[in-house]
């Protein structure tokens, strides 16, 4: 199956679940900013959850299926149409050769995922098909998609359309644990971080989401020795405005590690768009683990339900 990009929108890239095992060499993990929606799209499409899909940032993508295929989109609410007919998220559809799929501007959420039967066929680089935009590696020639690009999918068994599941709701809160440098902040700064309704700044990208709305007085913060960071780490630079690291996060940094978004909420962090408001909600490790466990079970239940349904 081949598809042709007619309009890429502001940023559409090939993403999977990212590169495992190269952080020690400075290579970011990468992968979908909302890995949960990417997994869900793949599961409903009948793929391995780690197959390569398209990450559509803020909408605007228009493409043509050059052969018949089945596909699923998940994530941000974007008004997606197939030859003008409105589609639902997390629902398996069939498209005929020549059909045109269109994503309008994102109304809620920032990133949609389009999984095609078989997954996008690009060569893995360092074990992943994800596009590393900074290093220009992986994905489709290491870059965002442009008009006229044609992408192939790996061969797939035929799947019947009509299967659908429910998506999780995003909400306004990101649950967090205190980071290693939390004790270096005084009580006023700690309170301010947790109480401020933070606005997502337009200067945000796949590396990190910059927040505005307040300036946290750090006081005489020590210059830290550089240390590992990861997606979900909330850095607090001297500007006093936090940065939530996302999938393309650099592997090390030197700013204060004030908070850490719990793993079960990482997908939520990937769904805020510029202008959205978010709040941090402090939880403890036991709650973080319980939430992660519940999320894994949710995926297991969906996998089971899909196999029950008869996926072919």
């Amino acid at each position: 199956m081949t598809l042709t990009i007619l309009k890429p929108g502001p940023l559409t890239t090939v993403q999977d679940l990212g590169r495992d095992g190269y952080a020690a060499f400075g290579v970011p993990r990468g992968g979908g900013c909302d890995a949960l929606s990417l997994r869900l799209a793949n599961l409903v499409a009948g793929n391995d959850e780690g197959a390569a899909a398209l990450e559509v940032t803020l909408g605007g993508l228009k493409l043509r299926f050059d052969d018949a295929t089945t596909f699923v989109y998940t994530g941000a609410a974007m008004n997606v149409t197939l030859d003008g007919v409105l589609l639902s998220p997390a629902h398996r559809y069939a498209a005929g050769a020549g059909a045109v799929l269109r994503f309008a501007y994102a109304e809620r959420g920032a990133r949609a995922y389009l999984a095609l039967a078989g997954g996008i066929a690009v060569a893995p680089v360092l074990g992943s098909r994800s596009t590393g935009l900074l290093a220009g590696m992986g994905g489709f020639f290491g870059r965002a998609l442009r008009s006229g690009d044609t992408l192939d999918c790996l061969p797939a068994e035929p799947r019947a359309p009509g299967v659908a599941v429910a998506q999780l709701e995003r909400g306004e809160h990101l649950r967090v644990l205190p980071g290693p440098d939390w004790p270096l902040l005084d009580h006023a700064a700690q309170r301010q971080l947790l109480a401020t309704p933070w606005q997502v700044s337009p200067a945000s990208n796949r590396m990190g989401m910059r927040l505005a709305g307040s300036v946290v007085e750090i006081g005489a913060a020590p210059s830290l020795d550089s240390h590992a960071v990861m997606p979900g780490c909330v850095q607090l630079p001297e500007s006093g405005q936090p940065i939530v690291l996302l999938a393309d996060a650099q592997t090390t940094g030197g700013y204060l590690r004030a908070l850490v978004v719990i793993r079960a909420d990482l997908w939520r962090a990937g769904q805020f768009k510029p202008g959205d408001t978010l709040r941090f909600a402090e939880v403890d490790t036991a709650a973080a683990l319980a939430a992660l466990d519940a999320q894994q079970h949710w995926l297991v239940r969906i996998r089971r339900a899909l196999s029950w349904w008869g996926t072919t």
Binding site: A23, A24, S226, Q250
Partner: protein, 211 residues
């Protein structure tokens, strides 16, 4: 000291010196072999382990980290290679040179002489593919990072951040002070060894005039 870093990571911090860093390299190798499912990442004077908390417990990773640190005492590390990096200092290639000079109470030329006169060792890789944290910066040149990181620092920028110096391998956001520029290629994912530098390598900066 071992601290938790969210529910899926731990950090061992021992302080930055070449002796400590050599031990951390050894500990990294031990951990890489003993707990391969964990992603072990070196920092300057610290070592973090990222794990799946639904598969292994934080307590197990903590003991592995402690044991590796103890076992790393007295382990000899292999000597690295020596790499020369040509640098054009100052002007458009190093927009923060004057700021660093002012902070240090030195002239721009003195900053260049001291920076290029240093013997550097790669302490760890990180931040970006091919980015090497170098130890051995003249303490007089230490300069705080920018309050707000630049949205884009050009590939090849030679920079100072705190008591460290490094070269940006790729165009990226960054908060360090930029003092020069090199055309050395620090990272190429399609090269057999993608990164030019590895922990333990030594680096010298060779001035190529000044603009």
């Amino acid at each position: 000291m071992i601290q938790s870093f969210g529910e899926a990571a731990l950090v061992l911090s021992v302080g930055t010196s070449l002796a400590m860093q050599r031990r951390l390299w050894a500990a990294w190798h031990i951990l890489h072999a003993r707990e391969p499912s964990v992603e072990w990442v070196l920092g300057m004077g610290n070592l973090s382990g990222f794990f799946d908390p639904l598969v292994v417990s934080a307590a197990r990773i903590e003991s592995a980290l402690e044991a590796a640190w103890l076992a790393s005492d007295g382990v000899e590390s292999e000597p690295g290679k020596r790499v020369e990096i040509p640098v054009v200092y100052g002007g458009e290639d190093g927009p923060d040179l004057a700021h660093v000079a002012e902070q240090a109470g030195l002239s721009c030329d003195e900053v260049i002489d001291r920076h290029a006169g240093g013997d550097y060792v790669v302490y760890c890789l990180g931040f970006l593919p091919g980015f090497a944290y170098l130890g051995g910066l003249d303490p007089a040149l230490a300069c705080p990072r920018r309050a707000t990181p630049r949205l884009s620092v050009p590939a090849g920028a030679v920079a100072i951040g705190g008591a460290q110096t490094a070269v940006y391998p790729l165009a990226s956001p960054g908060g360090w002070q930029l003092i020069g520029q090199t055309d050395a290629l620090l990272f190429d994912p399609y090269r057999e060894t993608p990164g030019l530098l590895a922990p333990g390598d030594s680096v010298v900066f060779v001035p190529r005039g000044r603009r």
